[in-house]
């Protein structure tokens, strides 16, 4: 628009004056104000997006958006706020997010490990039993169990005891 206005001067003074007179019309000035207002709103929206993206304040704003989303879902489908709909929000702000696939893999691994690995306290329990047992038959049975455990560990096979825990952070 700037170059267009200057370009009218190439055709003579009258052409430029005519254009300036046109810009003095009330509806043109009103339109100009409206365009500036829309640009200001657009700028404000952009700054707000930057805040949401890069600061902790973002989480609170996003939380408000989430609550608003429940009340007026249709409004949020349009325009700039659609970004918030796509982004999961939490009342804790920067919540730790865990992919369910990770939980699935942990459950699978724990299930197998629990059937293969005897916890140290159980092994110590076997040692204590072996030290205390005096009946020959019981000693024989206990010895078989202890041998089975060592064979299972050596061959990466299943053992009878089924307990294992693991934490993930």
């Amino acid at each position: 628009m700037h170059f267009l206005a200057l370009g009218t001067a190439l055709s003579g003074d009258a052409s430029l004056d005519g254009f300036l007179a046109w810009t003095d019309r009330p509806w043109v000035k009103a339109s100009e104000v409206a365009v500036v207002a829309l640009l200001a709103a657009h700028l404000t929206g952009g700054l707000r997006l930057l805040l949401i993206e890069f600061t902790r304040l973002a989480a609170r704003i996003a939380g408000n958006v989430a609550r608003r989303r429940r009340r007026c879902r249709r409004v949020l489908r349009a325009g700039i706020r659609a970004q918030f709909v796509l982004k999961p929000v939490s009342r804790y702000g920067n919540a730790m997010r865990i992919d369910p696939k990770t939980i699935e893999n942990v459950a699978k691994e724990l299930y197998i490990r629990a059937l293969k690995i005897l916890p140290p306290d159980v092994k110590r329990g076997f040692d204590a039993l072996a030290a205390k047992e005096t009946a020959p038959t019981a000693q024989n049975v206990l010895g078989t169990m202890i041998k089975n455990i060592s064979v299972a560990e050596a061959t990466d096979n299943l053992s009878a005891r089924t307990r294992e825990s693991r934490s993930t952070t």
């Binding site: 865990i98 992919d99 699935e104 893999n105």
Partner: protein, 159 residues
């Protein structure tokens, strides 16, 4: 599962968490493979996934730890399930009734369970809570004692 503060799974949908655990059991059973003992209670149909109606049983609790999740898996064989008992004792019977019941159950189980046999005892609460407490007790490290100071022989700092 003990879920700490400020933890979110996927898009925040809790059902994804249960589905993930169930799928983990299925994959362990099929991919390892493991023997699946879970059958439909009436038709006896075995899906060979170690999963069934309400199985795996998932207990979800919430802890104070920030941004952490603790997962504990307790695969129980049917040998231990077949030797599980519950008794609703009368208050007037006192602690002796508890001790007598535990000893009677151990004698009844005999050698039917797969060794090593570790006995978990839950006391109090509702029927379902009491059985749950027994399961939790069975997972406690051996040679440790109940943290309840009212429990006989307990050491509060034992756990």
């Amino acid at each position: 599962m003990t879920i700490g503060r400020g933890v979110q799974f996927g898009d925040g949908d809790g059902t994804a968490l249960k589905t993930a655990i169930r799928k983990g059991c299925e994959r362990a059973t099929r991919e390892h493979p493991l023997r699946s003992s879970i059958v439909h209670p009436l038709t006896r149909k075995n899906e060979h996934t170690s999963c069934g109606i309400g199985v795996p049983v998932i207990h979800i609790d919430h802890g104070d730890a920030a941004e952490g999740v603790k997962v504990e898996m307790i695969p129980k064989g049917s040998g231990s399930e077949n030797n599980s008992w519950l008794k609703m004792a009368l208050p007037a019977e006192g602690v002796d009734a508890i001790k007598t019941f535990v000893v009677d159950c151990v004698l009844d189980a005999g050698g039917k369970t797969c060794p090593p046999t570790i006995i978990g005892v839950g006391i109090g609460g509702t029927a379902d809570l009491c059985v749950h407490l027994a399961k939790i007790a069975a997972t406690r490290a051996l040679a440790t004692q109940c943290s309840d100071p009212e429990a006989p022989g307990s050491r509060p700092s034992s756990r």
